[in-house]
Structure formats: structure tokens, C-alpha cells
Amino acid sequence: MSLIEAQRAFIAEIAADDETGSSSLGMKIYRGAYRERLAAALAVSFERTRRWIGAAMFDLAAAHYILSNPPQSWTLDAYGADFPAALETLFAQDPEVAELAWLEWHMPQAFAARDLPELTPADLAAAELCETDWERLRFTMAAGFAAREVHHDCTALWHALREVAADGFAVAATKPATLIVWRRGLSPHFRVLDCDEFAALGRLAAGQTFGETAALAGEQDIARFGGWFAQWLSEGLFSAVRL
């Protein structure tokens, strides 16, 4: 057996659902360590989610995820990237679980994201952009920027679960909105945006120009769009512009 064939067989054995009776003691140790390490990584990455659904349910979900999601990255820190999506399926009747897990995943991602400069109003002023430039202007989002639609007040749940289980906490359903995460300076932030505001910000985040985005806001809402844009700049949501 070649080395790669032996390694494929080794991985198949430590990751298999059922332990084969012929496994050596050493193989049982590697097999147990594989599961323990991945389960521990998920428990550390999703402490609040674990508190919310309880350790027993969380551990079942983690075991299911470990079987169906082999680690792909060279860093164990990336292992939980698809766990919020898995929870969306596993807890379809309790959608706040996946929303909370998404927030819990993206806050540390933003915390450790590669550094990007913050685009300030002074930077824009210094660029001396003409009207045509503004039409064509595209934006690069801040370090760690991510967004997803939410239907519950999962930010309140996030705060409630900071250190202890939130027994009796009733998570409120909300109108559909968008939760965004980003890093400013050294601190990760999150905020919930209503659908109109994120429709505009999402276009800029997707690479549409300032002119296209402003035009879609419509003449009646241009002042509102201007207000949002000023707020986004003041919140450090952009890192750069390009023409």
C-alpha cells in the first residue's frame, strides 16, 4: 500500500461513524482525539449558542456536523464556518438558533480579520472628487464585514447569553432585517439595519457604484440615503474607495 493510500485509509477509520472491531488501541486513541478536538473547537466557537440550546442538544448537533463536515482548512479556528448553516437545518423550528450562531461566528472573525484602513470623511474630502467621480465611486467594506437576514432580536439574545444561560429569556420575533458585523479599530461591532437601509448598503457592499445606489434610492429618498451614507462613514463601515 502506498503512503497516500495508507493515509486515506487512516483518515477513513478515524472519521468513520462506527468504530471497527479491529481498530488497534493506538487507532482508537487517534479516533477519539479527532472527535474530541473538533467538538471542543465547536464548543469554544459557539459558547452562547451552546448555552441557548443546552449542552446536550448542542453536543448532538456538533456530532452530526462532525460526521458530515470534514475539516477543510489548515486552521482549526475555521472549522465552525458552516455550523450556523447546519443549525439552520437542524433547528428549522427555532430559527433564532442559527441567527445567534451566525453572529457568534462572525464576531471573532471580524476581531481577527486582516487589517484594513478606515475610510474617513476627511479621506473623501481630501480626494477632491467631482460629481462624475462620485457617480463611478465603488467602496471596499471594513475588515470582517459580513451580513445576513434575521427575523429575531438575536442581538438582545447575544447580550443576555454573555456569561450565563438565559433561562426564561423570550427572544422576540422581528420584522425581517439585516444584521451586519464589522471591525473598527481593534473592536468588532454589530448592528441591525432595516430592509431599506441594507438594500442600499448591500448594493455598495456588492460592488455597485455610488451613483447606481443613489439612483435606486430614488429622488424622494435621496436625503435619507445621504443620511445613511454619512452614518456608515461615521461608523467606519468602509475601508477604501476606487474609481
Binding site: Q7, I11, G26, P71
Partner: protein, 276 residues
């Protein structure tokens, strides 16, 4: 790769996040720190600022766990490129990783998995190590891992394998004394035979750590306990053979207050001073 690594002697600690505040708040009596490379690769924000602040005060070593030197399909080039960026940014004393493999394409194990000591595995490790050293533009240190099984197809011992690897690739060795002890118990070899076979000129660093008792007399390299008496004795034997060498305490679980690790490091200084 004909570059050499100048010996660096002293006593250090593996820097873990539980002690970041201690290291940021005051000068700590260590000669160097070692960090896990992967914790700072493709990274920014506070983690990188912390590393920058600590390495202003202390020489720093990058110690990896994911290079997978024993992968016959070759190394992950994106991994190497990220490690190169980090090494260029942070200018470590050296970069190290393990004699192991960590997974196959599409399925990582996040573990230091054992290799059969065969000519095929040796050729694989030499080729991968040469590539890594070329990309990083520096020789590396390779560490002996603990292991819990052996392979009937092995045609040489671990120490023979390490010696050939160092000679053929130009790498240096990070001798983990605890791992030598753990594997010697698990596989029934004489740890002094291991030490005797390691070329003195190739050892640049020593790791010390604790282990725990596993099933059926097996020892597990858990890094969750103080260094035991048998490992201290083996460390003294290593210093007798290799001379003063950068020595470090590793603790990755049940991490105690920094003072406790400093006391253990003082014991390393005392042991080395008597043995040298």
C-alpha cells in the same frame, strides 16, 4: 538550503492567550517566547498587535502544527505563502513544525498523525521540507511527535529517520523530550538510544511538557500537567549530550497562572545548569 541557524540558548515559554495580559503588562523573565504560527497567519487586529508588542520585548519563535510534512501529495501552497508572510513580518528566531502528517486533501484531522518510517515517507518529508525551506527562505526545525501506534512496514527507527531527514534536507531538530519519553513508553524503546542517535550539531531547541495516563498503560501527550520527574531526568540526559540549548515549557490545556509556569521554567534552568 545551505543556510545555518545560529544556536540560541535560553529558557522560554509557549505564549498562550491566557497569558497575553501578563506579557503585555510587564517584562517577563523569559529569554524567548514561542507562538503557534497558525494562530497569527492570515490575521490582523488585536491578535497581531499583541504579537508585535510581545516580540518587541522578547525573541520569538514560530511553531506550526499544520504544515503536514508527511503528505505525499505535497504541501498546501497557500499555507506556505501565509506562513512566509507571517515569518517575514515577524522575523522569528526560527520556524518549526512536526514530523507528521495532518490530513489528506479535503479532510484534515487537526492532529499530528504518525508516519511509517519507510524510504517512501522519508523521500516525501525531504521533498516537502526542501520546498518549505525554499519558500520560507530559511532552514526549519522539525520536532519529533508523540505517537500511539507503529507500522509493521517501518524499515528504520524514528531516530534514524530524523537523523536522515536532517542530513538530507538541511533542517535542524526541535527535540521534544516529553515526546521521546511518551513514545518510548508506548512503543517500548530505550529513550537514551533515541537521544544517542540524534546529531548534536542539529539540535537547536528542546520542548518540555506534561503528559497523562491513557488506556492500557499508554501515555498521552496532553500538555495539561507539569513536567514529570522521568522527563526531567531525560532532559538532563539531553543537555549532557547536546549542551546548552533553547528550552521551553509547553502547556496547552489546564493552563495555570504564569507564576506556576515560571517556577517550572526555573526548574529547567536549574536542571540544565547541573547537567551542562
Amino acid at each position: 538550503m545551505t543556510e545555518t541557524i545560529t544556536p540560541f540558548t535560553g529558557f522560554g515559554l509557549g505564549l498562550r492567550k491566557e497569558h497575553h495580559a501578563d506579557f503585555l503588562g510587564a517584562e517577563q523573565p523569559v529569554d524567548f517566547v514561542e507562538v503557534i504560527s497558525e494562530n497569527f497567519m492570515a490575521c490582523g487586529g488585536r491578535p497581531l498587535r499583541t504579537l508585535d508588542a510581545v516580540r518587541e520585548r522578547h525573541p520569538m519563535i514560530l511553531h506550526g502544527v499544520s504544515m503536514s510534512l508527511g503528505s505525499p501529495l505535497g504541501l498546501d501552497r497557500s499555507y506556505l505563502d501565509e506562513l512566509k508572510i507571517l515569518a517575514d513580518q515577524t522575523r522569528p528566531l526560527w520556524v518549526s513544525d512536526h514530523l507528521c502528517w495532518t490530513g489528506i486533501p479535503g479532510h484534515g484531522a487537526h492532529d499530528l498523525l504518525p508516519l511509517p518510517y519507510t524510504q517512501e515517507a522519508l523521500a516525501t518529508c525531504i521533498a516537502n521540507l526542501k520546498l518549505a525551506q525554499n519558500v520560507l527562505e530559511r532552514p526549519m526545525l522539525v520536532e519529533n511527535p508523540s505517537s500511539y501506534l507503529t507500522f509493521p512496514e517501518s524499515t528504520m527507527s524514528e531516530w534514524q529517520f530524523l537523523k536522515l531527514l536532517a542530513e538530507e534536507s538541511g533542517c535542524y531538530l526541535l527535540l521534544d523530550v516529553n515526546n521521546v519519553f511518551v513514545s518510548s513508553v508506548n512503543h517500548g524503546f530505550d529513550p537514551l538510544e533515541f537521544l544517542d542517535a540524534i546529531p548534536r550539531s542539529k539540535v537547536r531547541q528542546i520542548h518540555l511538557a506534561g503528559h497523562s495516563q491513557g488506556p492500557e498503560g499508554m501515555l498521552i501527550d496532553t500538555h495539561d500537567a507539569p513536567v514529570c520527574a522521568a522527563v526531567w531526568a531525560l532532559y538532563a540526559q539531553a543537555i549532557e549530550r547536546f549542551g546548552p540549548c533553547a528550552t521551553m515549557i509547553e502547556r496547552d490545556d489546564a493552563i495555570p497562572a504564569l507564576d506556576e509556569l515560571m517556577a517550572e521554567l526555573a526548574l529547567a534552568r536549574e536542571t540544565a545548569s547541573i547537567a551542562a
